[in-house]
């Protein structure tokens, strides 16, 4: 199929639109990428038109994230806010046996019909779409890694402060201040002094006056887009806070580590080694070291609960499912449920697009064994799709919460 190519000179002329999956991280990321000459804009429209455009432009049985992302792009292009001749789209690609690998093709199909001049760029670390992906220079990758790390820390402590803040909006202020400050750090090389910056962030959040009364902790796990994107999950975090809970959301680095670890796992399972597995192996080691560093700083600081060490996730997974289950979020979902239950966050919402294939196995399929080991685990699977209404979703979550209060 013929489709528009992204030519190097377009870097200067084109605005690259990016779907917003994780508000804190993505704001940081696009600003950092601007330093490398890409002009990017985050799409934040959540109007009903997004869903309608999605329904019109992709097969209605495709997963909800694809539908929303395509819908968001179409809404933006049709809105007149952007000149189609000077606009490109960016989408992430992970590769693998899940149908999500087809998002980029669905998007191109749709562009070919409506905006044939708009090129689609891929952001991936699997070597897909050569020529039509972001050119990943080492300096850029390094900065992106730090965006993820800082984003994760901000998200984690923000989620731990917001439900308890005594003065409404204060956590948000600290968050926004840090989002601005981090940009400055990324301008030079100061962002590399991570430990120092982590401590400052932790101190600033720790200074927020908070209530000591413990709240119900509720884990949000599941398919990556639905788990994070408020557009997809009907503002699940806000809802939980309004119900008097503390949302516990796994970090983005976990997913990155999961992607980095899989090639090595497969090479072990299927007995082969090549350059790629070695490169991913090294990448994994590097990233994991960064995760351990952040966890250590948080533990030393002592005020907040750090994210789970990825190696703990891997050993938790081994009790339930093979790490060979590597399509979609694969074994990581099972592992996250297990680790949450083990560490006292027994109430878990597993979010997924309606009809998500890997989740039949790793989420719904593994709940039973996890409950056998942790009888108090209180897991509810919530399906998201264009037809599911908020009332139904919230009613099910309320049931889960009523269960939780029973055990509390």
């Amino acid at each position: 199929m013929a489709y528009a190519q992204f030519k190097p000179e377009m870097k200067k002329t084109h605005t690259i639109l990016v779907p917003n999956m994780l508000p804190i991280h993505f704001h940081l990321l696009i600003k950092v990428l601007e330093q490398f000459g890409y002009h990017m804009e985050l799409l934040e429209s959540t109007s009903r038109t997004v869903v309608e455009e999605g329904l019109k432009n992709v097969h209605n049985d495709t997963c909800y994230p694809a539908l929303l992302v395509v819908g968001q792009f179409m809404e933006a292009l049709k809105s007149g806010r952007y000149d189609p001749d000077k606009t490109a789209l960016l989408i992430t690609q992970t590769g693998g046996g899940c149908r999500a690998s087809n998002y980029i093709h669905l998007l191109r199909k749709c562009m070919a019909e409506h905006f044939p001049q708009v090129p689609v760029l891929s952001l991936n670390f699997a070597g897909l779409e050569k020529g039509n992906s972001l050119e990943l220079k080492p300096a850029m990758v390094l900065k992106m890694v730090y965006c993820v790390l800082y984003g994760d820390l901000l998200m984690t402590v923000y989620n731990q402060c917001r439900p308890y803040e005594l003065n409404e909006g204060e956590s948000k202020q600290v968050l926004e201040a840090w989002q601005k400050k981090l940009l400055k750090l990324f301008d030079g090389s100061r962002y590399l002094s991570a430990e120092k910056v982590y401590r400052q962030i932790l101190d600033d959040f720790a200074a927020i006056p908070r209530s000591k009364k413990p709240k119900l902790r509720v884990g949000i796990i599941g398919e990556i887009y639905v788990k994070y994107s408020p557009l997809a999950n009907n503002h699940l975090e806000d809802f939980l806070i309004s119900e008097g809970c503390e949302p516990v959301v796994p970090t983005l680095l976990e997913f990155v580590l999961y992607c980095a670890a899989n090639p090595e796992t497969n090479s072990r399972l299927y007995d082969y080694r090549n350059f790629r597995t070695m490169a991913f192996g090294l990448g994994y080691k590097f990233l994991h070291k960064k995760q351990v560093q952040m966890i250590r700083v948080m533990e030393e600081h002592g005020e907040f609960t750090p994210p789970h060490d990825f190696e703990d996730l891997r050993s938790a997974a081994d009790q339930y499912i093979s790490q060979g289950v590597s399509m979609g979020e694969g074994w990581m979902i099972t592992a996250e449920m297990a680790v949450l239950a083990e560490t006292g966050t027994e109430n878990i919402i597993c979010t997924q697009p309606f009809g998500c294939l890997p989740n039949h196995i790793v989420a719904k399929g593994m709940s039973r064994t996890i409950k056998n080991t942790h009888p108090n685990a209180n897991i509810v699977a919530i399906d998201y799709d264009p037809g599911a209404t908020r009332v139904n979703q919230e009613n099910r979550i309320k049931l889960m919460l009523a269960n939780a209060k029973l055990h509390a």
Binding site: M1, L55, K56, H59, N60, D61, C63, G97, C98, S101, N102, H105, L106, R108, K109, A112, N266, L269, Y270, D271, Y272, Y320, S322, G324, V325, S326, M327, G328, F354, G355, L357, P358, H360, I361, V362, K364, G365, M366, S367, R368, T369, K371, P375, N376, A381, D383, P386, G387, T389, R390, V391, N392, N395, R396, K398, L399, L401, A402, N403, L406
Partner: protein, 973 residues
């Protein structure tokens, strides 16, 4: 000072329940009433009533129920989740209960009390609930109580889809039209509700011990009760049906209230609720018509498309009768030789199409002018075969063709027809004066006429009134375009948000249209449809729907004034065309003597055991339906070509016969998923090593039921669900262990971007291990294998089977296995070539029945291949021709082996004038959302027809037959 009472208010989707408790938690008053969506009014009214009785008592309050949430929030009153309320009530009243099952209007809930408390409710599906039973009763035109009585006189139970009410409906309709006993259907409906609860709600947890049954339906339906106790194997002591089952949750809600501190008087409560403003988050559309004149003009334009009328009482000359025995309605027209409409009839068939036609024919005969001679008759629709056999109608005609004939009459240059009837949506494109592509709604009748009717009734209106209300709605609500079940909750939410009935009526019309355009037709733009569009079917008589349709596609269309009669009209035109001058239609005399009896039976022709209905007519002849092949109809299998689908299945089964003389152990291989493709490999491997290979049983419905209780995800595809039963079957057969490898990758057959399995095929063994209690690491081996790396496979298998064989032997056995697989593939190609040769010799068309290897399972394909063969077509499979073509240019990532075959096969079909491809798609297959679009594009870009058949645990062969016959009709033109 009185000590405070407690009141629980349970606001469900269809009813309001209240319970008032005194301090000792004794019930002072309990009520149960329907609210017809006037939630707030109903609650206030009830409270005011109570206030008269208990004017001064302070009380504590709590609200529960699906519609109660918004109300409680708006009024600032406490809310308790309804399952939790039930839990509290059970703890209070029946502490010995182990499990609670509650069926409500649109919700179904289950609480496990012992062994880890777990409370669950139905997910996004309202199948198997009270609303479903109501709907089914309406379909049979009886009250719910009559339905209950009928169920008690059942002789047999038919399998009816239990997942979703909508599917169940499309299961029942064909049964009715084929004349199955209504008592049996009633019992089957209740059984479907039970199955839904067991598989959908319990999700792998067994329901046992003392079970408490709650909720409206379970408190008054004895048929349902006995279906539950029977299926769960409960005795009288274990099954508890409390007298106040209907208000039990309200009781729990009151118990919850009693623990709170705030108190109110009833009058205070009533006024708080009356003032409760619910927030509006409505998405509104423009009004359909801004002012009455606009509607007048619209109406006039459409009124112009009419036919000439005549009077059958006075007409002299030849006349032709057309009958359309549709799924829920019967239509009949009598045309003069100049196509004047002499007589018309349109009515609900009340589930008895044959009686309905007979009665109407009698009426026609009574008034018919003696000088009018009926010279020909034709029948179309679901009931075609039955009516034709019973009443001696001359011709049968496929629905699609009948509609095309009728549309051409009004618009000779018609290039697109859309027909929305009671249960189905049919769309077809016309190219070169013949039907080109056909789109039908698959296994789902959402967005059809009966859907809007159901809502009208639920809101307390009749359908005509209800649709008129929408015409001048000020703010039509946007309700989305999904399935009825989801629509229910959208409507609920809209009501909560303050939408008026008018807005909802207009919104529903819009939903029907959007559903048709974007889901069934899958149109990308209005130009896709055509320039000359004819719309028809009873649903388009609704002006609001018509207006929405024109607006959505931005173009004017033609709606014939006899929109609802088009099938019958087309049939009459056909009768005139084919007429020999006389008719075999029963004369008034014969008709008076005509009667019939219906009986259910099971066909013993083969293992499919089709459920037959045998209808015996008064002249002694009989009509059999429900059969897939000719055997069931009591005929010899006629000269049929070999059928590659069947051959492959028989070949796989035959492998089990070969076994070593003195086997070292029994290994079980399930007849599921990828085994249907790789059985020769594994069978040879194990036999070579001296194992006896035991297959699981051939799939039947029973196999599914065997494993039903261990299925954790109710939305996974049927081929995966049935795997649970195969595990049970293997264990029953006493195998030493089951071997079922996980495989991320399939075999690389080249010419594709990658060669994955789909996630379900790849990892289902992990799920089985985690959910089937009887599987252990010892009796269930599920290693991770990549068959493209034989050395690694040898190593892994060497570790597993080291005690049975040396590494060398394993290596050799595997090599033999691969050779056997290769030979099997070549054999398929050879057989395919032979069938093609024979078909061409006999001048027959060839159908490539493409899907997944596991679609050869008879319980999964429901005998579709036999049906195709019985229609006189040769059947081959995608893997017999895939090697003959290169993968065409695709718009998708070609990364699954089974799909890559399909793309190549489709490409090859485009080069063969006598071949057509029919794609089988399992419901819930997410990957096929991508592949179907691609296969369709490959075929249609090259001028071929695309036919997709969605299959599920239900077998709606009626609809499939229409599709196939339409395909044949299109091929012939």
């Amino acid at each position: 000072m009185n000590t405070p009472y407690a009141i629980g208010i349970d606001v469900g989707s269809t009813t309001v329940k209240t319970v008032l408790l005194d301090v000792g938690k004794h019930t002072l008053s309990a009520s149960y009433q329907r609210h017809f969506s006037k939630v707030r009014e109903t609650v206030c009214e009830k409270l005011t009533q109570l206030a008269a009785e208990y004017p001064d008592n302070p009380l504590k309050v709590s609200i529960t129920g699906s519609a109660g949430l918004g109300l409680a929030q708006a009024a600032g009153l406490p809310f308790v989740q309804e399952v939790h309320a039930a839990f509290l009530a059970v703890k209070e009243r029946y502490p010995s209960a182990d499990v609670v099952i509650e069926l409500g209007g649109e919700d179904a809930k289950i609480i496990f009390l012992t062994g880890g408390v777990e409370q669950r409710m139905n997910g996004s599906c309202a199948g198997g609930t009270g609303a479903f039973i109501d709907q089914m009763a309406t379909l049979l035109d009886v009250t719910v109580n009559e339905l209950d009585n009928m169920a008690l006189h059942a002789e047999k139970v038919y399998p009816i889809a239990s997942r979703c009410g909508v599917f169940a409906k499309s299961d029942i309709q064909p049964l009715l039209n084929q004349g199955a006993r209504r008592e049996d259907i009633a019992a089957s409906i209740f059984q479907a509700v039970v199955d839904q609860t067991v598989s959908g709600l319990a999700q792998g947890r067994r329901i046992q011990g003392n079970v408490l049954f709650l909720g409206g339906p379970l408190s008054f339906l004895h048929g349902l009760r006995s279906a539950f106790t029977g299926t769960l194997g409960l005795d009288k002591e274990q099954a508890i049906f409390p007298d106040d089952g209907r208000t039990f949750v309200a009781y729990g809600c009151a118990v919850s209230a009693a623990g709170l501190s705030d108190t109110y008087t009833l009058a205070e409560l009533a006024s708080m609720l009356a003032k409760a403003e619910t927030q509006t988050a409505l998405v509104a559309d423009k009004p359909l018509f801004s002012y009455p004149e606009e509607y007048q003009r619209f109406w006039k334009r459409h009124a112009a498309h009419d036919v000439k009328r005549g009077d059958y009482k006075t007409y002299k000359g030849e006349a032709y009768l057309g009958i359309d025995a549709g799924s829920t309605t019967t239509k009949m027209v009598l045309l003069s030789k100049d196509q004047e409409l002499l007589y018309e009839y349109y009515a609900s068939n009340k589930g008895q199409p044959l009686d309905c036609v007979k009665r109407e024919l009698e009426t026609l005969y009574e008034g018919l002018s003696p000088d009018c001679v009926i010279c020909g008759s034709a029948v179309t629709g679901y009931g075609e075969d039955l009516i034709r056999a019973g009443l001696g109608v001359d011709f049968g005609i496929v629905e699609t063709v009948a509609h095309f004939k009728a549309a051409t009459f009004f618009c000779p240059e018609v290039d697109f027809i859309i027909d929305i009837g009671g249960q189905d949506i049919k769309c077809f494109q016309i190219k070169n004066h013949s039907i080109d592509s056909i789109m039908l709604n698959e296994a789902c009748s959402s967005g059809c006429g009966s859907f809007i009717q159901a809502f009208a009734v639920a809101l307390g209106y009749n359908i005509a009134e209800f649709s008129k209300l929408g015409l001048f709605a000020e703010h039509p609500v946007d309700l989305g375009s999904r399935c009825t079940v989801f629509m229910n909750s959208s409507v609920k939410q809209a009501q909560k948000d303050g939408a008026t009935v008018m807005d909802i009526s207009a919104g529903l019309s819009g939903s029907i249209v959007k559903n048709a355009i974007y889901k069934v037709i899958r149109a990308r733009s209005p130009e896709d449809l055509g320039k000359h569009i004819v719309v028809q079917g009873g649903t388009f008589l609704n002006d609001a729907v018509l207006r929405c349709f024109e607006r959505e596609i931005g173009q004017e269309v033609i709606r014939p004034a006899i929109s609802g009669l088009m099938g019958a009209f087309g049939a009459a035109l056909y009768a005139q065309e084919k007429s020999s001058g006389s008719t075999t239609l029963l004369s008034p005399e014969q008709l008076r003597r005509f009667s019939y009896t219906a009986k259910a039976a099971a066909c013993k022709g083969c293992t499919a055991n089709c459920s037959l209905s045998v209808i015996r007519f008064s002249d002694g002849s009989r009509f059999i339906s429900g059969n897939r092949c000719e055997k069931g109809a009591g005929k010899q299998e006629s000269q049929q070509l070999p059928n590659l689908f069947e051959w492959k299945y028989r070949h796989i089964l035959s492998l089990e016969q070969q076994k070593p003389q003195t086997p070292s152990a029994k290994v079980g291989l399930p007849l599921t998923l990828h085994y249907y493709d790789q059985m020769p490999l594994w069978h040879t491997f194990f036999t070579d090593l001296g194992f006896q290979v035991v297959f699981s049983e051939e799939s039947t419905r029973e196999t599914y039921y065997k494993g039903q209780a261990t299925i954790p995800s109710d939305t996974v595809c049927y081929p995966a669900k049935i795997a649970h039963g195969h595990m049970e079957s293997l264990l029953e057969k006493g195998v030493d262990f089951i071997f079922y490898p996980c495989m991320s990758y399939n075999m690389d057959e080249g010419d594709s971007d990658n060669h994955y399995n789909c996630p379900v095929v790849a990892y289902y063994p992990e799920l089985l291990m985690a959910n089937c209690e009887k599987l252990t690491p010892q009796n269930f081996l599920h290693p991770y294998l990549d068959l493209n790396r034989p050395k690694h496979v040898v190593k892994v298998l060497g570790e597993l089977f080291g005690r049975y064989a040396s590494k060398k032997e394993i290596e050799t056995a595997l090599r033999h296995g691969f050779a056997a697989l290769e030979q099997y593939r070549q054999e398929i190609v050879k057989q395919g070539e032979e069938i093609v040769r024979q078909a061409r010799e006999a001048g027959k068309q060839i159908i490539v029945l493409a899907g997944r290897p596991y679609h050869m399972d008879p319980e999964i394909n429901h005998g579709i291949h036999k049906l195709i063969a019985s229609l006189g077509l040769a059947v081959i499979t995608e893997d017999s021709i895939a090697h003959l073509a290169q993968t065409p240019c695709l718009q998708a990532l070609n990364q699954w082996t089974y799909h890559a075959r399909m793309y190549r096969a489709a490409q090859y079909v485009t080069t063969q004038p006598d071949m057509q491809l029919v794609q089988l798609v399992s419901f819930g297959c997410g990957i096929d959302a991508i592949t179907t679009d691609e296969v369709r594009r490959i075929l249609e870009d090259n001028g071929k027809l695309y036919t997709q058949l969605k299959i599920d645990e239900i077998s709606n062969l009626g609809a499939i037959k229409i599709r196939l016959r339409s395909l044949i009709a299109a091929m012939e033109q």
